[in-house]
Symmetry: C2
Subunit: 491 residues, 2 copies
Amino acid sequence: MRDLIFPVEHHSEISLQAQLRRHLVDAILDNRLASDEPLPSCRRLAQSLGVSRNTVVLTYQALADEGLLVSRERVGYFVNPELSTVQRAAKAHVRDNIGPDQVPSALWKRLRLRPSEHTQITKPKSWQRYPYPFIYGQADPSLFPVAAWRLCSRQALGVTSIRSWTEDSVEADDALLVDEVRTRVLPRRGIKATPEQILMTMGGQNALYLIAQLLAGRDTTVGVENPGYVDARNIFSVTGARIKPLPVDHDGLVIDQRLAACDCVYVTPSHQSPTTVTLPLERRVALLEQAARSDIFVIEDDYEAETNFVHNPTTALKAMDRTGNVIYVGSFSKHLAPGLRIGYMVAAKELIGELRSLRRLMLRHPPTNNQRTVAHFISGGYYDALVQRLQRVYQQRWELMGAALTKYLPDSATTPSFGGTSYWVRGPDDLDSDVLAREALAEGIVIEPGSIHFISPKPPRNYFRLGFSSIADEHIAPGIERLAKLIHANT
Amino acid sequence: MRDLIFPVEHHSEISLQAQLRRHLVDAILDNRLASDEPLPSCRRLAQSLGVSRNTVVLTYQALADEGLLVSRERVGYFVNPELSTVQRAAKAHVRDNIGPDQVPSALWKRLRLRPSEHTQITKPKSWQRYPYPFIYGQADPSLFPVAAWRLCSRQALGVTSIRSWTEDSVEADDALLVDEVRTRVLPRRGIKATPEQILMTMGGQNALYLIAQLLAGRDTTVGVENPGYVDARNIFSVTGARIKPLPVDHDGLVIDQRLAACDCVYVTPSHQSPTTVTLPLERRVALLEQAARSDIFVIEDDYEAETNFVHNPTTALKAMDRTGNVIYVGSFSKHLAPGLRIGYMVAAKELIGELRSLRRLMLRHPPTNNQRTVAHFISGGYYDALVQRLQRVYQQRWELMGAALTKYLPDSATTPSFGGTSYWVRGPDDLDSDVLAREALAEGIVIEPGSIHFISPKPPRNYFRLGFSSIADEHIAPGIERLAKLIHANT
């Protein structure tokens, strides 16, 4: 009988029992322990690792219950000789070997798309480590409601809940979640909907992808805001659709004759992306009228709708829709945790039916355990509390940002912003914000250059975006001050 | 101050505190409690609901911490007067109103696909309630490892873990999970891969969708097995590709000249779907040679690979691939829980790079919390234990099925089956299995008619599939006996 020595960490988040288990499983499956080999006695292993005897007893017993060990009375525990050799050889096998990595001969010949070549917003790796992360679209991890999420997650792990979510629900969503979205989330945007008008998606982006697949193709014209959201443009391009840039001014999307040529239009009325301006009522009315006249589908991306610091949030465009031509896209990712990927869509029942069938082919449904957890999170009032809290935090940062920009960058223009989580800044005419971003990064400041948002062979280069969802209050003014120095040195 | 009466269930899975919280949140957000209205004292509410005073104290305190209530010293708790009216009016607003449901004028004009019109396998609702559910592709909920999953899920909710998964990881997968797949799961199929050759997907189906988007289109020919997997066919059809049916015999896919006309081929070598036969070595070699010669991408769907009861599982086709032309698709859904939607793909690095960029547009990444939980589940040895256990359970059912079929349906032919979770049965020539399925259902027997698997204007109607992943051992023989009576009465 051999002695086993594993490193055990006494102050880890992972329990001693879980650590011990993991080491034993590794030793068994890596073939470091032979088939039918006896394990050290509980007492002996406990002594040599400095853990309690009970920890070892429970771990051995669990592994025996699950068939990795066998227990023989009065003798001790042994590696189960019936474990298949395939299973046991697995891990050792891969350690020193790596498979072939030929470029397949079929590759360039068969590839119909090259999605890796799309331009896209890149974020510096480990942006969290920079002192001044004016990064956009990242939730502040310190604001994530850890305790509440754990609680709701435990509720979703109750036996009855597990029964309902382990099944393949084929194309249905969690009825609890749909009901919470319908009765608690949508009404705040002024939207009334039946369950058949709602579809859950893998975040807002997945909603756009589904819509693009269903509505866009080579003979389709899709109107997009210019400047506008890069990924939306990319998603529609994948279908081969013609992308028609529509101008944006200080009030958001300009509504005019150009719309008539479009089959669908992608808009961000609450806070235009990236300029953050809110589309005024008259333009909303004009857009809906135009859409009704020309049978245009209007895709309303309502990201960050509720972060409005000056007025009450405007209701959604969808709330004014009497024709069913508006497809509403919302998401929990921004507020809750982008990693969870949960969003939703509201549209006419017939359209949702087709989107649901398409989603069934694409991925069936967003994971049911997460749907259930979010349902508990909303029904327990945690979501409301979180939105309240984020509102307060963001409003504070938004004010600090506004003050710092006025103070340190009086010669740059910011579009009038009433909400959202970023400022869109037009620097001096001769500024190159790509150069600025690189230099700023070297000084610990993360900013997002603006040219990527424009559809143009020669986009203006003097715009940039400053996000404030992930930067601590006290770093805002010093960050802007440093950034201003760089800008003045450059122009 | 009003009395509040809520129904509280003492024997519920949901704690009293969580129940109380939910009722209070509802009352606040529905405006049943007015702004600034005082709440009953803790003692009084506790008495009237029959719960401990502490339960009420903790609930009030939590709601105050989160800003839904305010606490005034020596007076008590009040509905926070600063709660926005939008927030509070929300729920009441929607109760009696339902939005318009016009069919949008743009609908039929703009729709490019009609995915709802695809033929697809339908499963009877609440199939769990039937005594003889020979249903296919559903995990037996009684086999789901509830305790282990809870434990791993708790590990993924540790503070450090939460930090790493709440972030938007844009296009990266959880490195822990990729490593577990690479070192523990793939080697059992004989596959060696680097992390760059692996992509996580929302189940196997999502892998196929990604591949289809990248490789198939109007000018592409995709070879599929006939009979074969319906959803794979549907997924490729969405792209507009030509679907070329390739014949299947008692050894699986027939490898001949017909392959040369294909740009890609979809195959199920481990257990052909639906016939369950395993593709022999010579055909595998021939397929790979043909693929190399004609630059064909071979999509290997390795579902249920490890359920093999007669021999050790054959290694994957991918394990023999020296050209990089094989794209391997695997899934945890079948074994673990289909509702989780976690699968993976292995292919040449360049191809995975393009698929990753496409996935980024489609949905970014499978939810990071689930990725992390599955990683813990594998590294803790729970996955190995589960696979072992399912093997034993399924083998037992497979033997009972085989015996019952021989006894009660000696005049029907079953293809030689060595694994999987179903039998593919050819009934008497004049059997109509769609009629049989309806009649069987009326007697509590769920079976899947076979004609849907064939690509043909006049598919044979006498085949059907009997799954055994979700039927209890003791119901197998009586179920087959009853089914046999129905067949004999019908033919």
